[in-house]
């Protein structure tokens, strides 16, 4: 698809940056995280690129492989993450700016940890039983 540049204006990028700044202020003062759904906005590819450039690149990049690949890149502003979720065909299905200490999906889930703990115990018991047999 061609990029017609029709919404690639600095004003739109500035508006998004202003919203992000507000979310960061909330995170700093109240500890509440927030996000902006980039695919829900009428952004052209060049506008997205301009936003990405203005936010810059930080120190951390994390990859999640669950139902397709997701990438989380901290921008040059601490606490502001560029998150991209692809499906199993590689198509980007969601793209967000997350303003958080760390994107929630990267945190281990309590139920998953319980399940993992149970599996570990079972594996340990199995190993003990094999040794004693």
């Amino acid at each position: 698809m061609r990029d017609f540049n029709f919404l690639a204006d600095d004003g739109l990028v500035d508006a998004i940056l202003s919203e992000i700044a507000g979310l960061l202020q909330t995170l700093i003062t109240d500890g509440h995280s927030g996000s902006v759904d980039l695919l829900g906005l009428p952004l052209s590819a060049s506008c997205l690129a301009a936003l990405e450039q203005r936010l810059g690149k930080g120190e951390i990049t994390a990859i999640l492989t669950a139902a397709g690949k997701s990438e989380f890149r901290e921008t040059s502003f601490a606490g502001i993450w560029w998150s991209s979720h692809a499906d199993e065909t590689g198509r980007v299905a969601a793209m967000l700016i997350e303003v958080a200490l760390v994107p929630q999906i990267l945190l281990a889930d309590l139920d998953d940890m319980r399940s993992g703990h149970q599996r570990l115990l079972e594996a340990t018991n199995f190993s003990r039983q094999r040794k004693s047999a």
Binding site: F4, A94, D109, D111
Partner: protein, 354 residues
């Protein structure tokens, strides 16, 4: 644990999917449904606790195209698992049983899920001559619809035929075809029009219903606002050419090769509400305008009788049309009216929530 008592979270865990997969799915779905991203964890939690949703699907006066496109839509992802989680208790084209056994299955499914099942309909409802033009097991479609709507929590009218009568309703409408909402009142109805409908829209509606126990916000034609709130034209990548007055005059001229706007070739994008331009088809490959053909407006009522697919909305046809300036002016006015219409629909309060 029986299959019916199992939650979606348990089922996904049993199949090796962690909660991250479910949360990722919820992030994608909240984006697709135009919900605030902050709702994704809530949706994931609700989905994890959700039990199997019974769906009873009746096919009326239809071509089976809607079912075909929905069946062929899913990559083997978590979306497919969500569909596994839907208990499709009756669907004549897919079920193994037939005849009296199928009738019994239908009765049992309705009795077991009274007041809780989703009734999915594809195809229009013929009313002329007592509805004799489409029968199942000797019963008219209208009779079945009236009976099984009573115990449904909500009704999904899938495809333009079920929503508005579609092609069977086209002039001279020999069978007296109508849409579901012309027969049923007092029940929550969501229309998912399109010929065929975009599969992801059905996924979105089902996921929303399973997550929150009600239908999503609808426009004034009972379509999910998240997918039908704007026109094809508003989302079209050729829109800048329209704004510049650059139109293809035939399907093989220089304008067509340059990807100019197809308005003068009959594109109905300015008056058609659907998500084709954003969700696209065939796993996001393209949509009709991207393939070089104008939108035919198949998700709007009476689309078959709107004056021809190759006649422009301004009334001309490209072959004999010389006054592009007039076309552009009329087109701009039409586009502005369509955009205003879309905005006014967006501002309407949601209707018919269960």
């Amino acid at each position: 644990m029986t299959q019916d008592a199992e939650t979606l979270g348990t089922m996904l865990a049993r199949r090796g999917f962690g909660r991250r997969s479910l949360l990722k799915f919820a992030i994608v779905m909240t984006s697709s449904l135009a919900l605030p991203p902050s709702l994704a964890p809530v949706m994931a939690d609700n989905l994890a606790k959700a039990k199997r949703q019974s769906v009873i699907w009746l096919s009326f006066q239809e071509c089976t195209g809607c079912l075909e496109t929905l069946l062929r839509s899913s990559a083997p992802t978590i979306d497919a698992l969500i569909f596994d989680f839907i208990s499709l208790d009756y669907q004549e084209a897919l079920m193994a049983s037939a005849g009296a056994a199928a009738e019994l299955t239908l009765r049992q499914a309705v009795a077991a899920n009274q007041g809780e099942y989703l009734l999915a309909i594809d195809g229009s409802v013929p009313l002329k001559d007592g509805g004799v033009y489409s029968l199942t097991g000797g019963r008219s479609n209208v009779s079945m619809l009236e009976e099984f709507a009573v115990g449904a929590k909500a009704i999904l009218a899938i495809g333009t035929c079920a929503a508005y009568g579609g092609i069977p309703k086209a002039h001279p409408n020999p069978t007296g075809a109508v849409g579901v909402e012309d027969v049923i009142s007092g029940k929550p109805i969501v229309n998912i029009p399109g010929c065929p409908p975009v599969p992801e829209v059905l996924s979105g509606v089902l996921v929303y219903f399973v997550s929150f126990g009600r239908l999503p916000d609808l426009d004034d034609r009972k379509r999910p606002l998240a997918y039908f709130g704007t026109t094809i034209h508003d989302q079209c990548y050729r829109r800048p050419f329209y704004d510049q007055g650059k139109f293809a005059k035939s399907f093989d001229d220089e304008g067509a090769r340059q990807g100019w706007c197809l308005f003068e070739l009959g594109c109905k994008g300015p008056t058609t509400h659907n998500a084709c331009a954003s969700l696209k088809w065939n796993n996001g490959t393209s949509f009709p305008i991207e393939s070089g053909h104008g939108c035919i407006g198949c998700s709007e009522p009476d689309f078959w009788d709107q004056g021809g697919f190759y006649t422009s909305l301004a009334g001309g046809s490209a072959a004999g049309w010389r006054n592009a300036g007039i076309a552009a002016a009329v087109g701009l006015a039409g586009g502005a009216a369509a955009a205003l219409s879309a905005r006014s629909k967006s501002s309407r309060p949601p209707e018919d929530k269960p």
